[in-house]
Amino acid sequence: MKMGSANASSDLSSEVEVDAFRRLFPLRFHERHLLESIRPDARPLGKARDTTLALGAVASADGSALAKIGCTTMLAAIKMEIMTPTTESPDEGCIAIDFHMPPICSPIVRPGRPAEAAPVVSKQLSDTISSSGMINLKELSLVNGKAAWMAYLDIYCLDADGALFDAALLSAVAAFSHLQIPVVSLNDDGRIVVFSEENGGKLENEPVNKEKRKLKLSRIPFSLTCILHKNYILADPTAEEESIMETLVTVVLDSSFQLVSLYKPGGPVLAYTSAVQDCLALTRQRVKELQKILNEAISDMEVD
């Protein structure tokens, strides 16, 4: 394998050799790049992939968003349903978050054999969203002790190419920013029904939530996953990088850069505090980018 001597003209045999080298010695292939402070997709080590966000992708949902980080694609949608609040917190609603990896998203997922990563990401998302305090559950209350909103947030991974949690969290917060709560009223049977001018015009069935169509989101969480490998820190890894270099650190900061959570689920590299601080600095940078992307997506929607 003579990678260095590869001819400048697009010589097919050398191209095949590079591809074979990449498959046979993936770690050496990546380390050769790291020596030059570059990654196989031409990114510098600390740079995240291009990120896009589109709100309102699902017409049948109350709030939805499509997030793309590089090739990793997430579709999040919220459906609002009615529940009876618990006796412990009669003035609070609830959020149920589920992360799905359907077989379309990756060659490693097969029908009937769900991906191991899915329940892990699901739990991480629930923990992050509840502990960040982004949503005040009291805002989901409708009739004290009688009825409250249950927000079902389902996130589907449509294309899995690394940094699944980051993309899923971005799509989740974007779906909540897009969420438009339906106007509902209490009918004669004590059930909550969607308020419509045509048949709900009777006075006794006044809407119960005329004012609260949007949730007030405070302290929105954003995240960045990094790979630690030897002394290198690689931001926003691809699936290939994640499979070769196994130590991951995920930092979640809120919009005012306060630490929400920090995951380092084992891995062969033991991180020095300096490395963790570098990850934090990279995340701070990334949060600024993501905030801008989210704000642009929201204002794009308001223009339409």
Partner: protein, 256 residues
Amino acid sequence: MAGKSGATPTTYSPSPTTQNKKRPPIFNDVDWVRSDARGFQQCRPAFLRTGAVNAASGSAYAEFGNTKVIVSVFGPRESKKAMMYSDVGRLNCNVSYTTFATPVRGQGSDNKEFSSILHKALEGAIILDSFPKTTVDVFALVLESGGSDLPVVISCASLALADAGIMMYDLVASVSVSCLGKNLVIDPISEEERYQDGSVMISCMPSRNEVTQLTVTGEWSTPKIHEAMELCLDACSKLGKIMRSCLKEATSALQE
């Protein structure tokens, strides 16, 4: 908060359920306007794109009105360990829905019936001899269900197979027609499907003029069924052209 049925309290949707409603009398008239203002024999505008999922060998996205599906193709790859030796390739299909695909939140489970129909619709078009001992997986996810889901999945799947470079005799285009009272409506939306008296779905290979699958349900008279089949076949050949041009666009974009 884990969204498991055991942990969460029972909930209900505030939207009025349309399941038990009687058929609106409008459908019995000879003349009525479809809710998306289409003519009875007019299909919804189709949006098709290949290469929707990078992780797959081939993939396609299809959008017909509110019906949105993604199909990924993996392989040819090793068959399951338990499989017997086979000197022709195997085709494995799976169709599932997202929980938010339907107006009322669903379970997002596999649709076994659609999976098997998809398999039968594609089987005849694929040159299975070209990948002996291995399996090609065709997985479909219905992102949003807006009616005629299955025909859209079938057409989209054949496009994804072509994108994956799987050898086929021809593309498979699929279209359904519903019988509503005195009228035949092509490419029905969910509401029209709910109140239909009968339906015909044809999957065919347009350039070879061969039908891979024909499904008829409900009550039909002989002249009506002939008319419906003519309508389907005609729409299939038009859809086939759109699919072909989608593939051509993708390759010419690649060459530039």
